[in-house]
C-alpha cells in the first residue's frame, strides 16, 4: 500500500501553508487512516479498484477527501468521539483518530462511491516556528 504518498504530498503542500508541523502531522495521520479504511474495507483490497485522494487547500483550510468504491457504513449510527472500550484492543481506532485530529469530518456518497472528507483549519500558532531569540 502506497500510504507514504498522501503523507508526502500533504507535508509538501502544507509546508507552503500557514499550518504548524503538528497540524500537518494530524491531518496526514488522519488521511492515512482514511486511505487504510478505503483500501481494506471500501475496496476490499482489490488492486483493480481505484482509491482516489482529492486535495483542496487555501491559507484558511486544508481539505482532503478519500474515495473508495464501497458502500460505506452507517456513519450516523456511530459516535466518532468514543474510543474502543478496551484500551488494549488491537484495532478499531481509525475513525476515532480522524475525528480527534481533524476540525471537520464529513461522509459523502457520490456516483456509487463513498468518501471521507477531512478538514484541518490552521490555528495560526507560532509554536512550531523557530524563535528568533534562539538563532544565536
Amino acid at each position: 500500500m502506497f500510504l507514504g504518498v498522501p503523507d508526502a504530498v500533504i507535508q509538501e503542500v502544507g509546508s507552503e501553508l500557514p499550518f504548524s508541523q503538528s497540524e500537518l502531522d494530524e491531518l496526514s495521520t488522519s488521511v492515512i487512516e482514511a486511505c487504510t479504511n478505503a483500501i481494506e474495507h471500501g475496496n476490499e483490497l482489490r488492486e483493480d479498484v481505484l482509491t482516489r485522494v482529492d486535495l483542496e487547500f487555501s491559507s484558511e483550510r486544508f481539505e482532503v477527501t478519500v474515495w473508495d468504491n464501497g458502500d460505506g457504513f452507517d456513519f450516523e449510527a456511530r459516535d466518532l468521539g468514543v474510543m474502543p472500550n478496551d484500551l488494549m484492543q488491537e484495532r478499531g481506532r481509525g475513525l476515532y483518530m480522524m475525528n480527534a485530529f481533524c476540525d471537520e469530518i464529513d461522509f459523502l456518497r457520490e456516483n456509487g462511491n463513498f468518501g471521507v472528507k477531512l478538514t484541518k483549519i490552521p490555528k495560526n500558532s507560532d509554536d512550531d516556528a523557530p524563535d528568533d531569540d534562539d538563532q544565536g
Binding site: L3, I32, T36, E90, G92, A100
Partner: protein, 114 residues
C-alpha cells in the same frame, strides 16, 4: 518496516525503521518477538527514532507485542518516540500503557531497577 536487533546489558534493543502500518509489518514484529521469547530474551526496548509514522493498525502491532511479552513475563518499553507518534499515543490514551524513554541508557537501566 525494518528491524535491527542488538543487545545491551541483557536487554534487547529493536531498532525499527520506516512505517509501522500492518500487513507484513505485523508478521515481522510478531515473529521477531516470538524468536526473542524462545531465546529467553523478554526484556525489550523498541527504538522508534527512525519510524516515520504509525497508523492505527501499527498501534495494534505495538499493543500485540506489549501483550505478548507481558504474557511471557517480559516487558516492552519504547525509546525515542517522535512528537507525531506521541500525539497519537496521547489521543488514544496509550501513553498510559507504554513506558517511554528519551535515552537508551535510561531505558536499559529501567529494567535493572525492577
Amino acid at each position: 518496516m525494518k528491524i535491527k536487533e542488538r543487545e545491551v546489558d541483557g536487554v534487547t534493543i529493536l531498532e525499527v525503521s520506516g512505517k509501522i502500518m500492518g500487513g507484513p509489518d505485523s508478521e515481522l514484529f510478531n515473529s521477531t518477538l516470538k524468536s526473542l521469547i524462545h531465546q529467553g530474551k523478554s526484556r525489550v526496548v523498541v527504538d522508534l527514532a527512525k519510524v516515520t509514522w504509525v497508523n492505527s493498525t501499527g498501534l495494534g502491532i505495538l499493543i500485540s507485542g506489549y501483550t505478548t511479552l507481558k504474557r511471557n513475563e517480559g516487558e516492552m518499553k519504547l525509546l525515542n518516540v517522535s512528537d507525531r507518534i506521541e500525539s497519537i499515543f496521547m489521543v488514544t490514551k496509550l501513553h498510559s500503557v507504554f513506558e517511554t524513554y528519551k535515552s537508551e541508557d535510561e531505558a536499559v537501566q529501567s529494567f535493572a531497577t525492577e
